[in-house]
Subunit: 281 residues, 2 copies
């Protein structure tokens, strides 16, 4: 395992790039499950330096291992510290996640701004790293920890239901980090090369067809194709249907277009002299 | 509870706005914990329509209740369906979350693009809603479900560790939705009014001070203030220290500035004739 009980950082081996990345600090976390889930999503988005300040249940923690899905073996190092001060070794910029803004005079940003600030600090080639700090499940961050931070980060949660799960709070930040990382280093993210700007997604004034309408259209079409002997050999039928549906669905049908296409199917079927069986829906 | 075993939608009461919001579909989810965590984070960002296609462990599910943190009582409705087709009632636009792009000819976007597409569909005032669909923990989405979608959504995950937890995958999308919602309806999100664009966060050419340096500076300062009788009455000492640290930390110190400030403290202490005790660090 790549964690240590001591307060020193553990080298994470040759994982990725020479670019330094922000660390994540969990301050007084309670549930191992959340620590493990946080480690997993950090690793999903390329972060590997996890620091715990006085975790309630000590460390190692089997529940964290279970929920990590192997993140600790895949490069995430865990270091445990008794105090926040110890955990801040090498940190030059501290971001505190908090839902309560407490009237403290601090700069406040959202996850995007926090990721940009962390990115600027971490990728700049200077010494030290940025840290993003999250409080424990019950109490959040203590005031003295917030007082030490350079920047507060808050999310646009519903004011009537604003308590995020700890690992979800980590997820929101690390995804924003991952977006910046992918934009900066596209060659590391082959799947992202297929992400293209979407054309305008509207169908103008027309009513979009419901998915029910489109389903019935597919079934009508497939019913007639079946009768016409189109699906051959039989074992390829599911694949052929998937390919057809996959193509047709891209058309982003309006109600009117569905009617039109179904009229076309019916006309073809009748034209082939095969309309003896009338399909109803 | 606001869920139903039947395939019909349950009215979610008067929760928020007349604006329709996308629904979330979990296709063949396995763990109740993930369903509950997904419901919680949906509710955090204002989404309340959760649809399950053949959940492995049936419904209701006590593990889901536990992890939901009350989201089901706070407006999230759950509807269970045997087939995807049943779950798509009223859906006019289907987004499929997938890490494997499978060579299917579909439009592909990231979480931002997907949220924008869902927002355009849901807020447009037309009939129907957009849906975002996630596959089960083990297998992801079946091909026939992907074939039915209008748009694929993929995240910039590390190719070497790309399997997101199901609830975390939901979290990434709903946060992007929440950002759009907050931008469009700022009055619903009072805390976001404090989010301001950050000034440039650099300190120019200078080396930023490490947090260790700043800590030692604080301790030095507080040590001298203590000796000077500044902290009075004693019970207010922690608050006074927090206020000082909170103010000073905003200065975003460079190494040179820390040295300068410490020199100033020393000079003041000597000037007051109180330098008999020499502090070391």
């Amino acid at each position: 395992m790549a964690y240590s009980r001591a307060g020193r950082r553990v080298k994470t081996g040759s994982y990725m790039s020479d670019q330094r990345r922000p660390c994540v600090i969990l301050h007084s976390p309670q549930l191992g499950e959340n620590i493990g889930a946080a480690a997993r999503v950090m690793r999903n988005f390329g972060l590997t330096d996890l620091r715990l300040v006085s975790p309630r249940d000590g460390w190692p923690n089997p529940a964290a291992d279970t929920m990590s899905a192997g993140a600790f073996d895949a490069g995430v190092s865990v270091n445990v510290h008794e105090t926040l001060q110890d955990a801040l070794e090498g940190v030059v910029y501290l971001i505190a996640a908090t839902a309560r803004l407490r009237g403290i005079e601090k700069r406040v940003t959202d996850a995007v701004g926090a990721a940009e600030a962390a990115f600027a600090r971490s990728a700049g080639g200077g010494k030290g790293v940025a840290a993003v700090m999250f409080g424990g499940e019950k109490a959040g961050l203590p005031n003295e920890a917030v007082a030490l931070s350079d920047l507060l980060m808050t999310y646009p949660v519903d004011p009537d239901f604003k308590s995020l799960n700890l690992a979800q709070a980590v997820c929101v930040f690390v995804h924003e980090w991952g977006k910046l990382d992918a934009a900066e280093n596209p060659s590391n993210f082959p799947s992202q090369s297929q992400v293209k700007p979407l054309e305008a997604q509207t169908t103008g004034e027309a009513n979009p067809a419901t998915r029910d309408d489109v389903f019935r259209m597919f079934e009508h079409f497939e019913f007639e194709l079946e009768r016409a002997g189109y699906f051959f050999p039989p074992e390829k039928t599911p694949l052929m249907k998937d390919n057809l549906r996959s193509a047709l669905i891209r058309a982003d049908w309006t109600e009117q277009e569905v009617q039109t296409f179904r009229g076309a199917i019916k006309a073809l079927a009748i034209g082939r002299g095969k309309a003896r069986v009338v399909r109803e829906d």
